[in-house]
């Protein structure tokens, strides 16, 4: 009876142990249960063995068992030594790159930064599993030069929770984490990774300044038209936010990463525009969100529109209306043009969300550019939308009744609602802030001026962010403005160009040689040997 019970316990134990292993492999998220199962199984097996102690003792009386155990122990000891050696070898390895151009080696700048790391840096790669190797090659190199580098690979399709937590937008994103700070990169190139590393290590403040003094949108405002939600999104991405009263400060502070002008209702003063011009010329980045004119008549923002015109962007004196009915799905009327497609641009690369712009004006690149600045379109509305030039018709009877009148200067869609422009800085950049990165200065640095203009400021307000695409679009635009400034330039190491030129005839002969002649000779000599021995 007791034997039977022990037998059952033994089997249960075995099943539990195997089950634990299976759970661990198939359902890693149930790992804790697997651990309990493994312990329970082990206990059951030990219990079974204790029950069978007589048999076990008998077994060990035999010569074979003693020798066998000794063999087993020696194998385990040997294995232990090898494991230890291998463990050490992965930490203390040396590498030699034998390619002519050192294709698989990192640049000196990167190595310098890596060896200087004092605390752990984690690179979290979000991509499809099949693409991991592309990043692994590079990150293994990073890890080779510093024990502080850790790499993690996450497939967002398998671990959607982590992807969501990271607010992931596209595959191939790498989060670089250091002391609670995070930088994101979307490239596996050494230059991108190293720049992200520098940024996250130096913690160079990315500051977004919101201008004030012209009743712009309030970043602290939690009301309907406030910008508090977008403020939170910016803070979440490590941006510091400050307000900027240009009339008082005279110049844009040197630590400004981006200046946002969010829906001013009055125009800027000439000194303010001067400060803005000086800032952009020195490699500054500005985002202008300009709402349509409140009243018909001459522009109420002549200086700001002139500033945009200097950068090749024309702010239309109109309101864009959308009769496509797409807005109705979002619960809005024709005064909220909706965009679902975006002209190719880095900001909207891989972007597939709908965005909507309550009361927007057109914001188009000027044909042929101006001041040798050529802007690119960012957002365009549907073909059923048009730009309504007759503003007086809007203020009177309400948006729903206006109609498309080509003779009054209305233009049929698609209408461009936003534009972006970048150009090499013409003036020397403002001196970097005191906490500037120590690793950067010796490398060549090319400041770039960038301007993004969108014909609406409400899309990023609290009520406009209900449409998910709006938040991401705004953040994409800010990130484009802020992140592309590389601290160091590393030329990617290309493998040497070594190619092969064959005539069709030569190629054919090589095929014959590879597939018939060489194997044929070997087989023939086999037959010859066999024949001779007979």
């Amino acid at each position: 009876m007791a034997n039977k019970i022990f037998g059952v316990v033994g089997w249960i134990g075995t099943i539990l142990v195997f089950g634990a292993v299976a759970v661990r492999l198939v359902r890693p998220e149930w790992n804790q249960y697997a651990t309990y199962m493994a312990w329970a199984g082990l206990a059951a097996v030990l219990l079974y063995m204790a029950g069978q102690w007589r048999d076990v003792a008998d077994f060990y009386k035999g010569r074979g068992a003693r020798y066998g155990t000794m063999s087993l122990v020696s194998i385990v000891v040997f294995l232990g030594i090898l494991v230890a050696v291998n463990y050490l070898s992965t930490r203390q390895n040396k590498r030699w790159d034998f390619t002519a151009n050192q294709v698989y080696s990192l640049s000196d700048q990167t190595i310098k930064i890596l060896t200087g790391l004092k605390e752990p840096v984690t690179f979290v790669v979000f991509d499809r599993e099949a693409n991991f190797d592309r990043f692994r090659d590079r990150l293994d190199e990073f890890a080779y030069h510093s024990t502080n580098v850790k790499a993690e690979y996450v497939d967002p399709d398998r671990q959607p929770a982590r992807a969501k937590e990271a607010q992931l937008q596209s595959y191939g994103t790498i989060l670089v984490q250091y002391q609670g700070r995070t930088e994101r990169v979307t490239s596996s190139e050494e230059q991108a990774l190293t720049n992200a590393l520098i940024k996250v290590v130096t913690g160079a403040a990315k500051k977004v300044y919101f201008t004030q003094g012209h009743s712009e949108k309030d970043t602290a405002g939690t009301d309907r038209a406030g910008y508090s939600s977008i403020g939170q999104a910016l803070t979440g991405d490590n941006y510091g936010m400050e307000s900027l009263v240009l009339v008082q400060q005279k110049t844009v502070p040197a630590d400004a990463t981006v200046v946002v002008i969010a829906g001013p209702s009055t125009d800027f003063f000439p000194p303010e525009i001067e400060a803005l011009n000086a800032y952009v010329a020195g490699g500054g980045k500005v985002m202008v969100l300009l709402d349509p004119e409140a009243k018909p008549g001459p522009s109420t923002h002549p200086l700001l529109t002139q500033f945009l015109a200097d950068w090749g962007i024309m702010a239309g004196n109109d309101v864009v209306l959308d009769a496509s009915g797409m807005g109705q799905m979002l619960g809005t009327d024709a005064s909220v043009p909706v965009a679902a497609q975006y002209p190719p641009h880095a900001i909207s690369e891989g972007f597939r969300l709908v965005t909507a712009y309550p009361m927007a004006r057109s914001m188009t690149p000027i044909e042929g550019g101006s001041n040798s600045h050529t802007a690119q379109p960012l957002v365009s509305t549907s073909a059923q939308s048009w730009s309504e030039a007759d503003l007086s018709s809007l203020s009177g009877t309400g948006g729903a009744q206006v109609a498309f009148n080509a003779d009054q200067g209305d233009k049929m869609g698609p209408i461009t609602l936003g534009a972006a422009v970048s150009a090499a800085a013409t003036a020397a950049p403002a001196p970097p802030a005191a906490n500037g990165s120590p690793a950067a200065p010796d490398a060549e640095r090319k400041p770039e001026s960038r301007v993004v203009a969108i014909g609406d400021s409400d899309f990023a307000a609290n009520f406009g962010l209900g449409i998910q695409g709006n938040r991401d679009f705004f953040m994409n635009a800010v990130n484009w403005l802020a992140q592309q400034e590389n601290l160091i330039a590393i030329r990617p190491r290309e493998p040497e160009d070594r190619r092969l030129t064959l005539t069709a005839d030569q190629q054919q002969r090589i095929m014959l040689l590879c597939l018939f002649i060489i194997p044929g000779i070997v087989f023939a000599s086999g037959v010859y040997t066999w024949w001779r021995r007979r």
């Binding site: 492999l25 050696v85 040396k94 030699w96 390619t99 064959l502 190629q507 086999g526 040997t529």
Partner: protein
């Protein structure tokens, strides 16, 4: 040392006095020829196309030699069980194992001799591929260093498979069983890193380190990393050690 050489000599003679050595090398040459020629034709075509728009570097080492080496490891998977299956099983079946066990040679000498013999056959196989590499040097201008590291990697990786195959062969007197078991174990080691994505990061790192192919990658690219060399050498040592224990058990198991 002389004894080891004698055993190795005897093993090699056994391969080449029967057709088996030639058949193995012949099929290896055929498969390698195929894995070499197909990428070659493709690379040639790509070179022609990229000649129109220069800028993209066409590197024969990266695009042709490294993939050919990687494919060679697949051939190993198929051919090696056939090399090692007979090493011990044959001796056991024909009874010559008794002679070996009672001979004045030590187990270590016999095992090393057999291992070196098998490595000799493998080296003969690999040396066939030097002809293919010569073709590349005649018609193109490949880098020789990454090719050399690739061969070093192939030799080390082949050594792992052979030592493991030797051990499995020492467990059974049935050659077919030995071949099948060897193939199964090779395949397991081969795909070990495939499942590494389902498990936690630590297990993932351990499994990736255990996977034989994972370590070959760098050799094929032209990199020598001490951790890969040490992994392969310890794998070979462990395989030979297991063989030694297995042969030793022959005595006391009776």
């Amino acid at each position: 040392m002389r004894n080891i050489a004698a055993i190795a000599q005897r093993e090699l003679n056994a391969y080449f006095s029967s057709p088996i050595g030639y058949v193995l090398i012949g099929f290896f040459a055929l498969l390698f020829g195929w894995f070499f020629y197909v990428p070659l034709a493709f690379f040639e075509q790509q070179s022609m196309q990229s000649a129109m728009n220069p800028g993209q570097a066409m590197n024969i080492n990266q695009m042709l030699v490294a993939p050919a080496f990687m494919n060679t490891t697949v051939i190993m998977l198929l051919v090696f069980p056939l090399i090692t299956m007979r090493t011990y099983s044959e001796e056991k079946r024909s009874g010559t194992i008794e002679l070996l066990l009672t001979s004045p040679l030590t187990d270590v000498e016999i095992i090393l001799g057999k291992f070196i013999g098998a490595m000799g056959l493998y080296t003969a196989m690999l040396s066939i591929t030097l002809i293919h590499m010569a073709i590349l040097f005649i018609f193109g201008n490949p880098e020789w260093k990454p090719i050399a590291t690739g061969y070093l990697g192939l030799l080390l990786m082949g050594g792992c498979f052979l030592s493991l195959g030797l051990f499995i062969s020492s467990l059974t007197k049935n050659q077919i069983v030995a071949a099948m078991a060897t193939f199964a174990v090779f395949l397991m080691l081969w795909v070990l890193n495939w499942i590494s994505t389902f498990v936690g990061p630590t297990t993932q790192a351990v499994l990736a380190h255990l996977s034989i192919t994972e370590h070959f990658d760098d050799f094929a690219k032209g990199i020598i990393d001490t951790k890969h060399v040490i992994y392969y050498l310890s794998f070979i040592a462990f395989g030979l050690f297991l063989t030694m224990k297995s042969v030793d058990s022959e005595r006391w198991r009776g």
